[in-house]
């Protein structure tokens, strides 16, 4: 279970306050959507969950399965089950995608005291998951995300998620840059991972992603606070009326 308690955070470099008291509880198996206008703090929240040190938490806490995530390094958080699907997946020239996947998977297994996967077993898992996401072996031989189209990058993120099997998946605008077909492939990939022990925080601007990944709870973030919480119908309401009502309410 994820519990975000009165979370305040600012940009480390210049002190700009971004999050101004977020409270959020995500239970196992739940899918929470976080929507909000540009600059409301959505991406910042996702980065802080993953442990990016560009941000400074000034107040509050993030507790995951009884442990404060704030005390953990990004790799320790990953081993504890946290996964961030990046809005803009990073290109890493010189690191083959396959090498990266194997290094990441085995590093997490090692951190959890599990045995490393044998190469045949690893290859089998990759092939199965890659096939489901329409990722070719040729893509996996290329350097990580280098020369991938926008859709390929997002599918590669979901492949990582499917391989690493995290218990808390944070999706940061996974729908951005996707056409309808790619959106369906990515959403199907996410839906296959849904289960009673896995929670999702889905950050998005648009309702259309939530047609495919149907949330249990929808939150509206504005100016660093959650200003409204509701069911899936809240997303439809936002799509129709825009954020103006809630943004004004927060001001």
């Amino acid at each position: 279970m994820l519990e975000i308690k009165n979370l305040h955070a600012r940009i480390a470099e210049d002190g700009t306050e971004i999050l101004r008291g977020i409270d959020l509880v995500v239970k196992p198996g739940e899918v929470h959507a976080i929507m909000g206008p540009n600059g409301s703090g959505k991406s910042t929240l996702s980065y802080i969950l993953a442990g990016k040190d560009d941000y400074e938490v000034t107040e509050g806490d993030i507790v995951y399965n009884g442990q404060s995530l704030l005390e953990l390094a990004p790799d320790e958080r990953a081993a504890a089950g946290v996964f961030l699907a990046f809005q803009y997946p990073i290109e890493i020239p010189g690191v083959a995608t396959m090498t990266f996947l194997k290094t990441a998977l085995n590093a997490q297994r090692k951190a959890r005291g599990e045995e490393e996967l044998s190469t045949p077993e690893f290859m089998k898992r990759v092939k199965d998951k890659a096939g489901e996401l329409q990722i070719t072996m040729d893509m996996l031989k290329r350097p990580l995300n280098v020369g991938f189209s926008g859709g390929e990058k997002k599918r590669a993120e979901i492949l990582q998620m499917a391989l690493l099997q995290p218990s808390l998946c944070v999706l940061d605008e996974t729908d951005s840059g996707l056409d309808i077909d790619a959106l369906k492939v990515v959403s199907d990939g996410v839906n296959r991972l849904r289960g009673p022990d896995r929670s999702f925080v889905v950050i998005t601007h648009y309702q259309r992603l939530l047609d495919h990944i149907v949330p249990d709870v929808v939150h509206v973030l504005s100016k660093g606070r959650i200003v409204k919480t509701g069911g899936p119908e809240l997303a439809l309401e936002l799509e129709k009326n825009g954020y103006a009502d809630f943004v004004d309410a927060a001001a």
């Binding site: 993953a50 442990g51 990016k52 790799d75 990953a78 990073i90 020239p93 290094t103 998977l105 951190a111």
Partner: protein, 441 residues
């Protein structure tokens, strides 16, 4: 104030002068060689060791580095030499190759695959012997290399080494490794290796520089004479002990339609300078130079190269990657000269460095001197740190910081490693690179 002719000032310079006076009569070669040695020594007497006011040595002040110079090593017995080599890492391990062994500057035919090489089409002679018969031509260097302070000192003191000759059309079935081993006692060494590839000959030469002790001073020279249509790859791995001072010069002369690839990996020595002088003398040739350098903890490493396009229609490619760790200093100086008649020259030089710490230092000096008007030449130089966004991405997938940094350093070097093209070299270099990274993690 009158300006006095410069006299030798430092202890190291005096040591070298004394070594010359002591050893000169015993150094191999006839009268012509002795004359070459004497004139090189006279030049040294006038200018002393190169220092920061000598432009080419501006960033690598050898005079300041050398507090003293130990005596030049005498030839070891084959047993001693064998033991010295056995005590050191075998870089290429089980890989199939011919091996030629130089210990403390002296060639040991008894420990080398001379007969097997002869059967394969290559002759090997000790330099000390060859200098007696054909010394003058063996000592000659192209103009761009002849005036250098280190090649000059090598001419004064080179007591041995070897001459590897490939006959016309010869093509070796296996690489030839030339081991330059230093024993554990501090000494000076100054061997010279000459590789001649006659028309159409093909060979892969692996030079490994290993061993040494605190205070060792090695000033080696490898002279590659690649004739018309020859294809020669030379991969040099410098991994001497931390306390050594190493100057390694590679001189390459290319004929017409010749291909040479010169690969250098430098991780050893407290103070190292790797010099490459490339002279094009025939049309339609190509030289590829690759440099992989990694230093840390007080090490100083200098990559200096001069590429001389003296004839038309030749291509040169240089890619140098340097990783500089905490408290270390890296230098890259690269000069491409295009002479007035060298039209249609295509020269591209790139040097990139990765600084792993705030107190890591890198100096970059790319130079183009172009006197012809129909050429394509470019150079690029970059210097940067590990990208924090890349690091975060890797860590967010569960890869611990040290391992993520290792991956990113390997990624930085990968472009140069991929260009090597010879599997035996790639494997050996990758193993060294990983060991270097593990040692710092």
């Amino acid at each position: 104030m009158t300006i006095e002719p410069r006299t030798l000032e430092t202890r190291a310079e005096t040591d070298l002068a004394e070594a010359y006076y002591r050893d000169r009569d015993a150094l191999p070669g006839g009268a012509a060689v002795a004359e070459i040695r004497k004139s090189a020594f006279d030049a040294f007497r006038k200018s002393g060791l190169p220092h920061r006011r000598v432009e080419e040595w501006k960033y690598s002040d050898l005079r300041a580095r050398l507090k003293s110079v130990p005596a030049f090593a005498a030839r070891r017995s084959d047993d001693e030499a064998k033991a010295a080599v056995a005590a050191l890492d075998d870089v290429y391990g089980a890989a199939d190759r011919y091996r030629l062994v130089i210990v403390d500057g002296h060639f040991h035919a008894g420990l080398s695959d001379v007969a097997a090489l002869a059967a394969a089409g290559a002759s090997v002679r000790p330099l000390a012997e060859a200098l007696v018969e054909q010394g003058e031509s063996l000592m000659q260097l192209p103009e761009i290399a002849a005036g250098d302070a280190a090649t000059g000192l090598n001419a004064v003191f080179c007591a041995d080494g070897l001459v590897l000759s490939l006959a016309e059309g010869a093509s070796l079935d296996k690489p030839v490794e030339i081991v330059h081993a230093l024993s554990a006692a501090a000494a000076s060494t100054s061997e010279r290796v000459i590789v001649t590839a006659a028309k159409g000959a093909k060979a892969i030469v692996l030079e490994t520089f290993v061993g040494g002790a605190e205070g060792s001073f090695s000033n080696t020279l490898t002279d590659i004479r690649a004739g018309d249509e020859a294809e020669v790859t030379v991969a040099r791995l410098q991994a001497e002990a931390a306390g050594t001072t190493h100057i390694g010069t590679a001189v390459v002369t290319l004929g017409a339609e010749t291909k040479v690839k010169l690969i250098g990996a430098g991780i050893g020595s407290g103070f190292a300078r790797h010099q490459s002088f490339i002279a094009f003398t025939g049309e339609g040739s190509r030289a590829d130079l690759l440099g992989i350098t990694m230093v840390r903890a007080g090490q100083h490493v200098d990559q200096t190269l001069v590429v001389d396009h003296a004839v038309p229609h030749c291509d040169s490619r240089e890619l140098f990657k340097t990783v500089v760790g905490e408290g270390a200093k890296g230098i890259f100086q690269g000069k491409i000269i295009v002479r007035p008649h060298a039209q249609k020259t295509d020269g591209q030089m790139m040097t990139q460095s990765l600084l792993l710490s705030d107190d890591a230092e890198m100096s970059l000096k790319p130079e183009l001197e172009i006197f012809a008007d129909d050429v394509q030449c470019a150079h690029g130089a970059t210097s940067g740190q590990i990208d924090e966004d890349l690091l975060f991405y890797l860590r967010s997938r569960g890869i611990p910081e040290a391992e993520a940094r290792t991956l990113l350093v390997l990624a930085f070097l990968s472009e140069a490693v991929e260009e090597i093209g010879e599997e035996i070299v790639v494997e050996a270099f990758e193993e060294r690179i990983r060991a270097w990274l593990d040692a710092g993690a």
